[in-house]
Structures are given as C-alpha cells and as structure tokens.
C-alpha cells in the first residue's frame, strides 16, 4: 500500500511526516531530484557576492561569478573536504581552502594548488578538480538549483505556476529586493507542516489566527469603504493546482471598485502594476487580501495585506519567502526573507517591515500560533500508535472548478480546501515511488 493513496478517500499515512525511515528515503528521492530555492538574486547583486545556504541537505555557496552568472557550489574542497566559506555572506573572487590551500575561482574552477609540482608532479590536471556544481536557473528573481542532472528546465517544471509568480514578483518595473539576509530559526516540527499550510490552507485561518481577527489585523468593512462598495464581509478565495505539486491560494478583500486597487502599495506604483500584468493577473493582484503558495518541495511565498499593525488606520503589504530545510523528520530549519519594492521609499520599506515582523516574520504573531500547531503535531507523534494512523484528505473534493477565468492550472472556486495539499502529496508520492 502506498503511503499516499489517491482514491475517493484520499489517504496520507502519518508515517509520511514522522517515520525516520521514510524521511531518510525522501532525502534521496525528493531532495536529490527536485529544483529547490537557494537565494533571491538581490542578495548577490555584484560579481563576487556570495551567501552560504543549504541545497536539499548539503551546504552550498551561492555566488555571482566575475562574468555575472550565478553559481551554486558544494561548500567542500575537492582535496580533503574542508568547507571553503564559513560566513553567512561576503564578497570574493576566489575561495581558498584553510587546510592545504587549494584555491578556486568563484566559478568553482580550481586555480591554484599549493606546492603543485612538489606534491603532484608535472602532469596534474586541475580541470578535473573543480568544485561540485549544482544546476542553477533564476526565474522572477528567485534562484533555484538542483542536484539532478536530468531535471526538466525550471520553466517546464513550474508550468502554470509561472503565470502567478509573474503576477507577484514581476509586476513592478524595478522589481523587488530583500530587506536583508534571511532570519534563520529551528523548530521541532516536520518540514512538511508549514509547507502544506502555505500550499493553500485557508481553512485554519479563522481558528488558528482568531486573535489577529479580534485585534483588527484583517481588514474590516470600515477599512475598505473609502475605496469602493463593500457588499459583504466574506473574503472570497480560490486555490490552484499548477501541477508537479506547485500550488497557490488567492484571497480577495470584499471590496468592489471600478479601477484596480493595489491596497497596501504606494499609489505611485499602481499604474506600472496594471501595465506589467495581463488582465487575469490584474484581477488576481487587485483587491488582494493574501496570496501564498508552495513550490514543491520546500519553498513557499506569501504576499499579504494587513491592517492595524502600526496603529489604527494603518495598512501595508509585504512579501515573504520561506525555505524549510529538513534536519530530521521532526526538526526543521526555516529561512525567512522579507521582500520590498526596490522603487519604494525608505519610509515605506520601514513601514512594510513593521507590518511584516509583527505578523508573518519569524517572531510575528501569526507564526507564534502556527508554530504552536506545527510543534504540537510533532509532539503528538512521539509514540507508535499515531504513526499507524492515516489522514483522509477529502476537504474540498466536492468543490466546483472556477469557470471563465484567464487563470491557468486547476482552479477551485473555494477558499477553504485541501485541494492544494492533495496536489503536493501526489507529487511527493510520485517521486517516492521512483526507484533510485
């Protein structure tokens, strides 16, 4: 019996999350095969800029080489395995090993071998000893890499998800930049918990985040009446299965207006947003309450509109990226980035950061409550009995497909659905079935 059974009672074994044997297998079958996010290109704008990250479970250097190309290099010397970079970030044209001094260009090519003739003779072929390189592609500012030489190009991998990434990351003339390096934290939970939550779980919000509703962090009708008619209190939403386990949820504010409303962004940016997007993408971005999604396996994005984070009447948007690095089945390292429009004023960036750190930042109120659930789920699986159980992921199986939209992918016309978690689990099961 498969761990994930795609039947009319879509079942997922709890071993998928917390069985160490399953976790060991997925490190090979999922993390050695998939495209994974490693950095935002604004982190390494100039030749020589580098950051150290983890690709799957392996430490890597993400560096812009002297020709301007992004390289993702395994952070271990080809000679005796010593790490070449120890810092979180820096700038260097070369990496020199601290043990015997082998020196590499920031393309990964071996350039210098200490006492080369003395130790290796005259015929040593340096070309055979470049640093191990991952395949790398950048799309919409997001740098992805994979250890899989046979992986499809990233555009083929992402498919319809590209349309939504364009709407989020491609809507500004000057694009987005990181406020700074990622916050890094560790939590005793499964890497899948936040991943599947952000794939499109709008079901948990009214319960897990009820205190945020009470505190006015979700827009109330009186926050919106200045911008248009507010015929209902209900926030309409949809979820999309883009294939290959990539999914997104899009929720709108209950406001009706004659022109696009990019609430939370500086109004001087509004015309270029409309100009840069197709009509269906404008419809997605206008009146946006929140959108979030997951790029399989372990990368998620969130664009959020929040009110009341900086006193009454305040409203702002922010984009967050999160990467979930598996440490063990029940232990996860999270990386958290905050993105802001490059063209926004410093005052706006600071305001966006306040909204972000107080809500969806690593120390934000939403994360305090989500973390409680994610950690709690892991604690509930310390024993044996829970592992024998299975989830029936049938939420939203009856929900209708959305009609007449420009939006690509399998779009369900419902805000509270398990449509996206099923899509993620299907991809996971496909990869786990493949013999290595």
């Amino acid at each position: 019996m498969a761990l994930v059974e795609d039947t009319n009672r879509f079942t997922v074994s709890r071993r998928v999350y917390f069985d160490p044997t399953v976790h060991k297998a997925e490190l090979e079958r999922v993390f050695r095969r998939s495209w994974m996010f490693v950095a935002h290109e604004s982190e390494i704008p100039s030749p020589g800029d580098y950051v150290t990250r983890v690709l799957g479970t392996d430490p890597v250097i993400v560096v812009r080489d002297e020709q301007g190309a992004v390289q993702v290099l395994l952070n271990t010397c080809r000679h005796r395995g010593t790490p070449l970079c120890r810092a979180s970030m820096g700038n260097s044209s070369h990496f020199r090993c601290s043990y015997h001094g082998w020196t590499y260009a920031n393309t990964g090519d071996l350039r210098g071998v200490t006492f080369q003739v003395d130790v290796y003779g005259k015929d040593f072929d340096k070309a055979r000893f470049g640093l191990y390189r991952a395949r790398t592609e950048t799309t919409h500012g997001l740098v992805f890499a994979t250890w899989n030489p046979d992986a499809a190009p990233i555009a083929d991998e992402l498919g319809p998800m590209t349309y939504y990434l364009q709407a989020i990351f491609g809507k500004l003339d000057e694009g987005y930049e990181v406020m700074g390096p990622p916050v890094q934290s560790r939590m005793p939970c499964s890497w899948k918990s936040e991943t599947e939550n952000l794939s499109g779980d709008g079901y948990h919000t009214p319960v897990a985040h009820q205190s945020a509703f009470t505190m006015g962090l979700f827009a109330r009708p009186e926050d919106l009446t200045a911008f248009g008619d507010v015929p209902s209190k209900r926030f309409p939403g949809r979820v999309v299965d883009c294939g290959n386990g990539h999914t997104i949820r899009i929720q709108h504010l209950p406001v009706v207006a004659k022109k696009p409303l990019y609430l939370g962004y500086p109004e001087e940016l509004w015309p270029e947003i409309t100009r840069n997007l197709a009509p269906g993408q404008v419809d997605m971005q206008s009146r946006l309450s929140v959108t979030h999604g997951t790029i399989f396996p372990n990368f998620s994005f969130l664009e959020n509109f929040k009110t009341g984070t900086d006193g009454p009447g305040s409203m702002c948007r922010y984009i967050r990226l999160t990467l979930k690095v598996p440490i063990a089945a029940d232990r996860t390292q999270l990386l958290w980035w905050h993105l802001v429009p490059k063209a926004a004023s410093e005052a706006w960036k600071a305001e966006s950061q306040r909204a972000y750190v107080r809500t969806n930042g690593a120390a934000g109120m939403f994360e305090v409550d989500d973390g409680e659930n994610f950690i709690g789920v892991a604690e509930a699986h310390r024993g044996r009995v829970a592992l024998d159980g299975a989830y029936e992921l049938v939420g939203g199986l009856h929900q209708p497909r959305a009609e007449g939209l420009e939006w690509p992918g399998d779009v369900v016309d419902a805000d509270r659905s398990e449509h996206t978690i099923r899509a993620w689990m299907r991809r996971w099961q496909d990869l786990m079935d493949v013999a290595t």
């Binding site: 120890r86 970030m89 406020m179 934290s185 205190s211 009470t214 306040r354 690593a362 973390g371 409680e372």
Partner: protein, 188 residues
C-alpha cells in the same frame, strides 16, 4: 574579502560617554531587574509604567560576516520592531480576557526568566539621559518539555524623570545565528 554593499538603516546606538558613578550603576541595575521581573511575572501595567511613551524596541537580524569589524548583525533588516503601543496592544493584548482563549501560542504562556548582567552605565550629552549596555539571557520553557534560550547584548537608553528612571529605547543584538528558542516574540 569585503562585504557586499548593504543598506544601513539601524545600528546600535553609540555609547561613548564616560562611565556613570557607582550609585547610578546600582540604581540602573536595580531598575533593569525590576523591569525584568515585571516581564517575567506578566505584570504588564507595571512594565508599561517603567517605559517611556516614546519607547522603541529593535532586534536586528543576526548575520555572520567574514569581517572582524562586522557588528554581527545586519544593519538593514530587523527580527523585531516594536513601540510601546504595539507591545501593549499586540503582545500584552493577547492575554486579554476575550482573546487569551484563542491566543494559542501564548496559552499556556511560555515561561520566561531574564538574567541581566554586566550592566554598564555611561553618561550622555543629553542631561538626564543614560546610555546603558547589559548582557541578557532569556531562558524559556514552553509547555512541559521544550526548552531554549536567547542570549543578547542590550543597548538601552534610560531617562531620569521626577518619577524615577524610564526606559526610552532598547536595541538588542543576538549572539545566536540560528534561533532555536520556543518563542522568538520576546522582549530581550
């Protein structure tokens, strides 16, 4: 090796004045101990009385740079950015009667214990304003089992008023690069 050019938005306040006298040191150390007591025992109103209305609290994102003169944090981005109003409304407000039941991550609250040491008090150019550095360790226990701690250096500004000392700002620099405490929403 050099670091990439990065935005400089927030840095620890420069505290270069001459050391204050011993009595002032003792007075400030006691003030910080009572402030920590108010936090650890959920005496939110008492804490608010010790804090100036213009209070700001910032914790920068820790980062490891290959540069001996690096401050150990990013000068462009923050983990926490709060003021007195946001702390009272969005932090303490979670313990209010109508909210606490659904403030899941604070219910039951993470038990926190502040250890404040190495208090250094310097006088400043502004009369009645003291520059205070201190080391802080916050030990935490969530529910029955999960433990953790955060260690930081504080850069505080403390104002002397007719009603006593008041905390005007706090900038806390974390030692940890990978944060592993049960809760990161913490007044260090």
């Amino acid at each position: 090796m050099t670091a990439p050019a990065r935005a400089v938005r927030w840095t620890a306040p420069t505290q270069s004045g001459p050391p204050a006298d011993g009595v002032t040191h003792a007075e400030v150390a006691a003030f910080l101990a009572y402030e920590a007591e108010a936090l650890d025992s959920h005496q939110f109103e008492r804490w608010a009385e010790l804090v100036d209305d213009a209070f700001t609290y910032r914790v920068p994102v820790p980062v490891l740079q290959d540069n001996v003169s690096s401050p150990g944090y990013d000068t462009g981005s923050l983990l926490l950015d709060e003021d007195k109003t946001s702390i009272i409304q969005l932090w303490f407000g979670r313990f209010g009667e109508d909210i606490y039941e659904f403030a899941w991550g604070d219910h039951p609250p993470v038990r926190m214990r502040h250890f404040v040491t190495n208090v250094r008090v310097r006088t400043s150019d502004t009369p009645d304003m003291l520059d205070v550095r201190a080391n802080v360790r916050v030990h935490m226990v969530r529910q029955t089992m999960q433990k953790g701690e955060l260690v930081a250096e504080r850069f505080d500004r403390v104002r002397r008023t007719p009603d006593g000392l008041r905390l005007l700002s706090r900038f806390a620099v974390l030692d940890d690069l990978v944060l592993e405490a049960p809760q990161l929403r913490v007044m260090l």
